[in-house]
Subunit: 727 residues, 2 copies
Amino acid sequence: MITIIILGVAIFAGLLAILVAFIFFRLVMRSDEGNERMREVSQLIEEGAHSFLSIQYRVLAGFVVVMAIIITLAEFFFSGTGLASVALAVAISFVIGAFASMTAGYVGMAVATKANRRTAAAAAAGGLNPAFRVAFRAGSVMGLIISGIALIGIGGLFLTWNVIFPYFGPVALWEIIAGFSFGASSIALFARAGGGIYTKTADVAADIVGKIEQNIPEDDPRNPAAIADAVGDNVGDVAGTGADIFDSNIAAILAAAILGASIDLVLILNGIITPIPYGLIPLIIAALGALASVAGVFAVRTHDYCEPDCSLNRGTYFATILFAILVVIVLFLLQIPIVIAISGVLGLLTGVLIGFVSAVFTSDYGAGRFQPVQSMVRSSETSPATLVLSGYSYGLLSTIPSVVGIVIALVASFVLGALIPVPGNIGFWQAGVFSVAIAAVGLLATNGLVVSSDAYGPIVDNARGIIEQSGAPEEAIEACDKLDALGNTTKAITKGFAIGATGFTVIALFAAYIQLASNMTGGIIFIDLLNPVVLAGALIGGILPAGFSAALILGVQKNADKLIREIRRQFREDPGILEGTATPDYDRGIKIATAGALRELLPATIAAIVVTIITGVVLGLEALAAYLAGAVITGLILALFMDNAGGAWDNTKKFIESPEYNHDREDYHIVHSAAITGDTIGDPFKDTAGPSINTLLTVISLTATLFLPLIFAGHLWIQSLILILIP
Amino acid sequence: MITIIILGVAIFAGLLAILVAFIFFRLVMRSDEGNERMREVSQLIEEGAHSFLSIQYRVLAGFVVVMAIIITLAEFFFSGTGLASVALAVAISFVIGAFASMTAGYVGMAVATKANRRTAAAAAAGGLNPAFRVAFRAGSVMGLIISGIALIGIGGLFLTWNVIFPYFGPVALWEIIAGFSFGASSIALFARAGGGIYTKTADVAADIVGKIEQNIPEDDPRNPAAIADAVGDNVGDVAGTGADIFDSNIAAILAAAILGASIDLVLILNGIITPIPYGLIPLIIAALGALASVAGVFAVRTHDYCEPDCSLNRGTYFATILFAILVVIVLFLLQIPIVIAISGVLGLLTGVLIGFVSAVFTSDYGAGRFQPVQSMVRSSETSPATLVLSGYSYGLLSTIPSVVGIVIALVASFVLGALIPVPGNIGFWQAGVFSVAIAAVGLLATNGLVVSSDAYGPIVDNARGIIEQSGAPEEAIEACDKLDALGNTTKAITKGFAIGATGFTVIALFAAYIQLASNMTGGIIFIDLLNPVVLAGALIGGILPAGFSAALILGVQKNADKLIREIRRQFREDPGILEGTATPDYDRGIKIATAGALRELLPATIAAIVVTIITGVVLGLEALAAYLAGAVITGLILALFMDNAGGAWDNTKKFIESPEYNHDREDYHIVHSAAITGDTIGDPFKDTAGPSINTLLTVISLTATLFLPLIFAGHLWIQSLILILIP
């Protein structure tokens, strides 16, 4: 009974979030669409975004079908249950997860492309606050929808397979939810990688030819890549970030549910009855987070005395505090050990800490006397090379406080959890890692608000471009610039947040994987680094994020090279474009960016899945666990490094372009060029490779979990082969 | 008796290497010193190098004294023996190791600064072959001396404490050798970091102002940083590389000796007698390697039909094959299991493989259709930003084949070793990791020749500068350029080699650490990654190389910024400098580079040692082991990435400057500037941070090993504190 109530509340919270999203959508659609030229430009962007997404989704549909077949076969032949119905259920929930992820990405993108011209119109008509209102509401649609879909999806799967058809048992339920999560994550990875390559191809090429070579402003309509750049904001930044947080959230809930359910099992076997099953606690926390997010979104209100930054902060503080209070009270009332509530809040605080570190390393004020961006501004005055070197170094340095923060929260939440009395030899371990997983769930619980605060940024970015191209007044551009700068800080914080979430989620998934592997092999697994085979696994895992991000950046660089040649060709062959008398061929730019992104889309991602399975089959389950750990270690460091270095280069350029910097110096163009070079290098770091690593880590962890039966069987086969060959 | 013979042979091989080095030194000194201007310039370089080294060594002397006191106290109060005499012996051998490292660095630098003008004179008088002969002989002095000192040092310590005063037992002997190794490594780290910062400060600044801004050639005497740049070649590249390989070699022998000796212990306890103690096998292999190196150095002979590259290859092949034959025959004759010989050769082959990968990623021909440098040349034509992105990506990609190679060799040598029958539960593990350590020793055995082939590069680089500044004929410069390009490929190979060596050495040290920790705690240690405290250790270890390299690069960038301002000031205030009528103030440049290097020298290095000890004390011995593993994973990847990315940028620039590239294109200066920007970014990657990571990994592994008793006692104290505080 209590189970049904909890699941009902979770699904209700999800529906509520989606309802609010719908209301906001209506409000956005009712705003003024702006003048003719604004609608025209926006139309071009909308068409470009839709065409990219529809081509991308057609490719992904093929992937989903093939993968569903593979999953069905793998589940049928190798899983413990061996039932065709379970195998099908896993494959279907994989398809549902994939479809949910695509829907979330599509809706976010669609709303964003409708909101950009309306934000532009609001900025032109009313300035800062009205523009922010439209953009933030549009961003909230995306934020609340992903929060809602996650709850409805997981709650629905629980309800279906635990309450309505409870015949398959908990192992089947885990595999079904893992299928759902894998579907969401693999699509998220494609969205991140594809959208990230698209957006940065356009951005890098537009900046290099437009700003450096021709010295024309950003978003200038004379630039043949201007529309592709604006399309990129929608398909990369809006759809990408949403998909990233969406998949982390689901994976975190899944991992915590698996770990909680195995505690329940131990308790039942020992005759201990708890009022609430541990396996359901993550859903409760996620539902409370969704409610807090909805409240937080409403708390973001601009007044004359409270401009956008103040109102965003207010919303965030409000949601965070409300969530903390709700979690403590509700868990207390439900007689759940209070240390779990503390772990959840601890996770959220870690996310805030990492976001704060990102802000210090990437904002132009720094922290007190430690001002990385200011020091990078001085490096720009020397040369692009020294600017790259200092950004590289600060990016690497920024990993230290964040990783130390994760380490402290990790150990603390583990120790807290270990205080819960669970019988058995490894009872304290089970309780401890469950608590770590709860920290991940807590970190991600307010994801609805976090994504809302992030997604409005690219919408404003688009609006700015539309204003620039429709010749609206200077004040409107200034209002957008102000919002854009604020959006950059939120974006850096969100990215830090997303990485922290990934760190915890992957560690939780790692523990869940171990739990499942131990169940399967019937013993406790040691991931002993002294075993060179295990160390080999860790080393291979370590190179995965490096190779993956290299492939993505190389993709951006190669595409951008092509697009640059095309832009130069247009400028050369039709001098009217630069004079403003001829319209550039925007379509060619969009086509080059699309083709390149789609070409790079599949290989790296499929390689990551295949390498994971092969490592497990060849080196065994223990080495595969070490492989996941190795990937987490280098992945976290690379992601933090690339996000923060990229953010710092971006804001260095922004500072040099801002009125605070002396534009009259003799060598301003040289300094500015150096800054743009830095920014251009940072673009694929922070918007393609860095954030993709998050999703990569989730995908490989889920691959290990979902294909565990197949990997185990494969490794046994390899072992027997070796025994036959070596007598 | 057999022990004394083996030790005698090892020491004899060491003496032989030093004797040959002395003969080469005499031959170099007898060459023509060149004309007046050559001697003048060379004099300036020599003085600059001496003044830097003497200031650096004065600072290091303080470090050595303080550290010796700390070691004495730590050993006396915490070590198992608790004997003041042992504590003193460890401290003294630490001082000897430090002194040996300083001597090797000093001699290498001194010979190089004497050989540069002689190489210049030979190039001017006789062209390619005679110049190569002088430079290679001078390089061999360094190569053979470090090979010799290592053998004499370790052989001597064995002889003293195992044969002459065998009263302290094996544990004391290990600690004494660990002290020696720690002395060599910590000084090597300072030499690498300090020299690396010095050389790249000068190089970066000279390139940015001279080549990009003023468009004057490299090494032009009008550049106020020209002399500092040449000094840097000596103190950074010559002294640094030597110290790096020197310390890896000693650490590898130490690790293998510890692991071998613990097998001996097990065998003795089980009444099994082996003709040769396992603990002495590493010394035998190292001695054979030294003999092969000496022969290889003699095989490097230029003829009319065999130019420098052919002769270098011939020397390398000859030494490698000779070593393989010697090891197999000698180990067979000594009735040592043949799998050990195979592991040693396997190690050497891995080194060659990694070197080959580096060559593919950094040479301008690539491998077949895979041509990273050519693709980077095309990126230079687009912009500096895309060039940086492609170099970054190829650098990351280059880690994949190297790490996979290490993984295969690691697993193979472990499996091979595990075939040796050693009694006991963990007997197969002991034999396996001993075999891994032997692979490290084998990889490093021919270090005498490897360093010789590497060290001639900077000497030629210097000679080129001297010729440019003394107005010698164009053909002499061309000869030097040809030698320099060859030197760059050797350098990339050597660096790959050094990283491979570090990888194996650190894994071996890791196993040795575990062996000692198990002895100390009286149980078998599991480094179980499922324990979040252990995972926390791995994460902290993972960020160490990132933070360390960031600190070094930031040091270079800040110093270079200062030097750039100074060079611009000189150009601005005295226009006669650029016209060639006034002499620039070289001394200011040297002073800025020196001061900066010394300021950055100590903090990062001492921080690494302190963080290692604190991690062990707070999180315990198991987490410390995971910390070492985490550091190895990210350290290997970062080092390979930075070395290869830097090398690829360097050679992209070289290709664009070469006659093969079309110099007549309209935008040549822009393309060239982009290439120089890439090269400048790569400079501290490949010559400061990347190679320093090797030494960093060795130093932290040795810190964990040497301070194990202190760390163990500290952690017990922390544990009891926690138990008191939490009732």
